[in-house]
Symmetry: C2
Subunit: 230 residues, 2 copies
């Protein structure tokens, strides 16, 4: 978290967020601040609550981890604030997103072009997710997968694996990071052939290398083509 | 910059980096620390210097902005450290990358799937860059362009524009951010039709919306499909 994000949470009259994220910042919230924590899937409600509180002239922070602009609350808050015809100043404070946190733990798999794809089909049609997987694999991007598995639903990851296999070798370096940058973080470095054996859940980020990604001293590095000799 | 990155710079015996980045952290470097600043394009030399200093048991920090794992020094440092047969512990400290900083200034264009593409063909063949542009545009990713223009070379951006136009409407929301998150930051919100009229250089980040990106109160928001009514 950046110093600016911490400062805004400390100054907030109201802190709104998914319960898991609220717990992560609990020690920053001032004692008399109002905390509105919600459950996953109630994003529009949380955005509405935040806008309503802001209309009472309160300093409101909506917590969304790691970067609110990457599969986070930034969009829905802006949409709700505008749909309700209000003119509340909304500031988006960027953070370190799971993709680059995971990359740092794995080595340097994202130093060349990459694509970020969520495997959750709650809001995006599965056909479009498949199309994006194929496009990213065929054009040799390093690929970051968010939300690889919902409770009890391994099918999206199995389907993604089958698509990736059409374009990538079985030996393609793959990294799996659970709870990137948080307590309980777990990092696995493996190959595409073993992807489905990895423990994966909704708080897991997966990075599949491009054809230029190799193992360097046990880590994933996508070569940018620098000449090391001479 | 994260508190962890600041702490490591403060503790460093040696700070190595491209001059522009050294200037950004000058006030954090301890007075007796050695500073090795270099020019753009000498990445391998900088990595070698860093490894040599680390072999003298010095605490070395290689500065690379915004996230060293996104078109930054993380990969080349790991490669050089290993190529020289050393066993230096290398830690990558993630930061906030220009893509998400720019996104936060523009609204929320990256809350759904996105692709990150550098238009610099110094290390990547132009044909591959074109292939990635086409793939990302056809599969309806939001697209982040890094390094859109080198000194005096506008052709890469013109070619990218022509490719994007085949898949996106002229009215597609586009954001252009110079010096994202730094002094002198400049944000332009426009449409694809006016992309080539924008002032663009190597420190500019461009975000081209997907078909789901719209203007919301003057900002770019990619709709994730939440139902706002009811």
């Amino acid at each position: 978290m950046t110093p600016k994000a911490k400062r805004e949470i400390k100054n907030a009259d109201v802190v709104v967020g998914y319960k898991t994220y609220i717990d992560l910042v609990q020690n920053l919230i001032k004692p008399n601040a109002e905390v509105v924590s919600g459950t996953m899937g109630r994003e529009v409600d949380r955005a509405r609550t935040a806008v309503a509180k802001a209309l009472e002239n309160k300093a409101v922070v909506v917590v969304s981890s790691g970067d609110p602009g990457v599969y986070g609350m930034a969009g829905v808050v802006l949409e709700v604030a505008t749909a309700e015809g209000t003119r509340i100043p909304v500031e988006i404070i960027p953070g370190v997103t799971a993709a680059t946190v995971a990359a740092s733990k794995l080595g340097a798999p994202l130093v060349s072009d990459f694509a970020v794809i969520s495997l959750s089909d709650l809001l995006t049609p599965w056909e479009l997710i498949e199309k994006r997987l194929r496009a990213a694999a065929e054009a040799d991007f390093s690929i970051v997968l968010y939300n690889p598995q919902s409770t009890g639903r391994k099918e999206p990851l199995i389907k993604a694996y089958e698509i990736l296999l059409k374009y990538r070798d079985l030996g393609t370096p793959v990294g799996v990071v659970r709870q990137a940058g948080r307590t309980g973080e777990k990092t696995t470095i493996t190959t595409l052939s073993k992807l489905l054996d990895c423990e994966v859940d909704m708080v897991t980020t997966i990075i599949v290398g491009s054809s230029k990604t190799k193992f360097v001293d046990g880590r994933l590095v996508t070569s940018r083509g620098y000449k090391l000799s001479g």
